[in-house]
């Protein structure tokens, strides 16, 4: 069993690492990079939603803050990517802390509301703050990162995001099975009981939220240097909802779920391009279908996010039971 797992992981790694060479099609590599970006975004949001049970509808904004921070530093001060990248994460974390401090004491639904609002505010401030962000004109010409003097090729971007994804997933996996992760989950399950176990609710909620935001900020920074043009509409409400959908579709609260959700939602629309204007109709329909059939998402964890056993049985036996 264990051997099998190791073999699978090894094979998977080899495939992933050699991907740009087996499939030397820049389009497919780009899709893979986008998958990586959204896998990280969804995984980080999952810390907030799936583990800690808080509802955030503004994840796109933190992603955007990371992107803008890194891009502006690179464009205005010519700082290298390796400096602006962590700073993007730090700036998003800073905003995460601020939002967290302001709203994490409130009722759940208000976190949803405030983050939604924060997303809008961020977008609109970016659009209105011409002198810094160039407003609706966006930021073109963001430099390509270099690695020991060599500019990133597409494969370079690919390996960077591959490594980044692996690190994030490993981190979340470890977190999940640690004291801190358990504290997050306990908060999701029952706040009052959690506080009686000595868990500092506010502290741990803020920690979860900030972690998620900083990771989103880091990906944002990467995205800015990958896309090389960013504008406010790339980080708006739609983005937040898309990330949320990835988490829910893949599997809330599970580690694999968000990865799968992101992959499916990035790849699906590409594969179904030929459906033209029906593409999005089918997208909506499939989303509903999957959730109705598997409410916890494709690989949702057992528990809160899954249908209670009796509920499934009830339907089944109701038909049987004659009247």
């Amino acid at each position: 069993m264990k051997k099998l797992n190791i073999a699978a992981v090894a094979l998977g790694s080899v495939l992933l690492i050699s991907f740009p060479y087996i499939v030397p099609n820049p389009y497919l590599v780009r899709v893979a990079i986008m998958c990586g970006i959204y896998m990280i975004l969804a995984s980080s949001l999952n810390i907030v939603i799936g583990f800690t049970g808080m509802f955030s509808l503004g994840h796109g904004a933190f992603y955007g803050i990371g992107a803008y921070t890194s891009a502006l530093l690179a464009l205005n001060l010519q700082w290298p990517f390796w400096v602006t990248f962590p700073l993007g994460g730090a700036m998003a974390a800073l905003f995460g802390v601020l939002i967290g401090v302001a709203t994490l004491r409130l009722r759940q639904i208000f976190l949803a509301f405030t983050t939604l609002g924060f997303g809008e505010i961020t977008r609109i401030v970016i659009l209105n703050w011409d002198s810094l962000t160039r407003g609706p004109m966006g930021l073109p010409g963001i430099p390509i990162p270099t690695f020991f003097g060599v500019r990133f090729s597409q494969a370079g971007y690919y390996y960077f995001i591959l490594l980044f994804t692996a690190v994030v997933v490993l981190f979340i996996y470890r977190l999940y099975r640690s004291r801190i992760g358990r504290a997050f989950i306990a908060i999701r399950e029952d706040e009052v009981a959690a506080s009686h176990m000595g868990i500092h609710l506010f502290g741990f909620k803020t920690l979860a939220f900030t972690l998620a935001c900083s990771i989103a900020g880091l990906v944002g920074a990467f995205y800015a240097h990958f896309a090389r043009f960013i504008s406010a509409d790339q980080f708006g409400g739609n983005e937040s909802f898309a990330i949320l959908t990835m988490v829910a579709l893949g599997g809330t609260g599970s580690i694999l779920g968000p990865l799968l959700g992101a992959a499916v939602l990035i790849i699906f629309p590409e594969v179904f391009r030929f459906l033209a204007q029906f593409r999005m109709v089918i997208y909506g329909a499939i989303l509903i279908f999957v959730i109705v059939v598997k409410p916890g998402g494709i690989v949702g964890v057992r528990g809160v996010f899954e249908k209670p056993v009796q509920a499934i049985r009830a339907k089944h036996s109701h038909q049987k039971g004659g009247r």
């Binding site: 004291r179 029952d190 009981a193 506080s195 176990m197 000595g198 057992r302 809160v304």
Partner: protein
């Protein structure tokens, strides 16, 4: 004095649920609090653990006033509790419920976790072992992988106690631990609580099962309408006219 309450008061709107209550609990004792429904016993516990903030008075634990500390700080001082209305983590496994209880014992940091340091491995291993031991003691070991919410009522109560013990509390507050247990099970609980006392844990117990209370309590305080109306040993309380009238009634058997 190990634990003391001085003129603690808590009101909800016009209703004074806890009215200037004094309480002295000796180290290592089992101290029962009884009283009619709605007398304010649970509210008293809530004030101790910070779930509700007492309006006035002092709550001294090991000589320090903990009245205005937040809940998690109070827990960190070494006060554990169970809830009358059972508050487990419903979708965590039995084992994980107890593991959450050890939150305060283990101090792994984010770095330890991220890098999976040897310290992290060691601490996690200890936690696992300790929790399994607790489950063995409470006879829940067999069910360690079930969701807490799927346990029957009586076992949920046991799990609450196990979880509270996981933080190695010095003072344990039990709110009606025998509710939902039949007399045979209650007898088992009786033994278990005694074993805790033997380990040096001080216990404050709210209970309506008089058989249990009279058998294990060193001291009993009686509360009615938020006011302490009597205090003493089991014998003293059983014969106290006021207590009989307000609470015990004339039992048939």
């Amino acid at each position: 004095m190990f634990f003391q309450m001085r003129k603690v008061r808590k009101s909800f709107g016009g209703l004074v649920a806890v009215n200037d209550v004094d309480l002295d609990v000796q180290k290592g004792a089992i101290h029962a609090v009884i009283g009619p429904n709605g007398a304010g016993k649970t509210t008293l516990f809530n004030c101790i653990t910070g779930l509700r903030r007492a309006d006035a008075g002092e709550i001294l634990f090991e000589g320090e006033n903990i009245k205005d500390l937040p809940t998690h700080r109070i827990a960190a001082r070494g006060i554990g509790r169970t809830f009358q209305n059972i508050r487990l983590f419903p979708y965590l496994s039995v084992l994980d419920n107890v593991k959450v209880g050890t939150h305060l014992l283990n101090h792994t940091t984010l770095w330890d976790t991220a890098l999976k340091t040897p310290r992290f491995r060691r601490l996690e291993g200890e936690v696992e072992e300790f929790c399994m031991e607790l489950l063995r003691q409470t006879r829940l070991l067999e069910k360690k992988d079930q969701y807490a919410r799927n346990l029957p009522y009586g076992e949920q109560r046991k799990l609450e106690i196990a979880r509270a013990l996981a933080s190695k509390p010095k003072l344990l507050l039990l709110d009606e631990p025998a509710a939902g247990m039949n007399p045979a099970e209650t007898a088992e609980l009786d033994d278990f609580i005694r074993s805790l006392k033997a380990k040096g844990i001080t216990i404050i117990l709210i209970e309506h099962d008089m058989k249990l209370v009279m058998s294990i309590a060193d001291t009993i305080s009686v509360i009615d309408y938020g006011v302490k109306i009597a205090e003493g040993t089991a014998l003293e309380i059983q014969s106290n006219e006021r207590v009989i009238e307000a609470y015990l009634g004339k039992r048939r058997n």
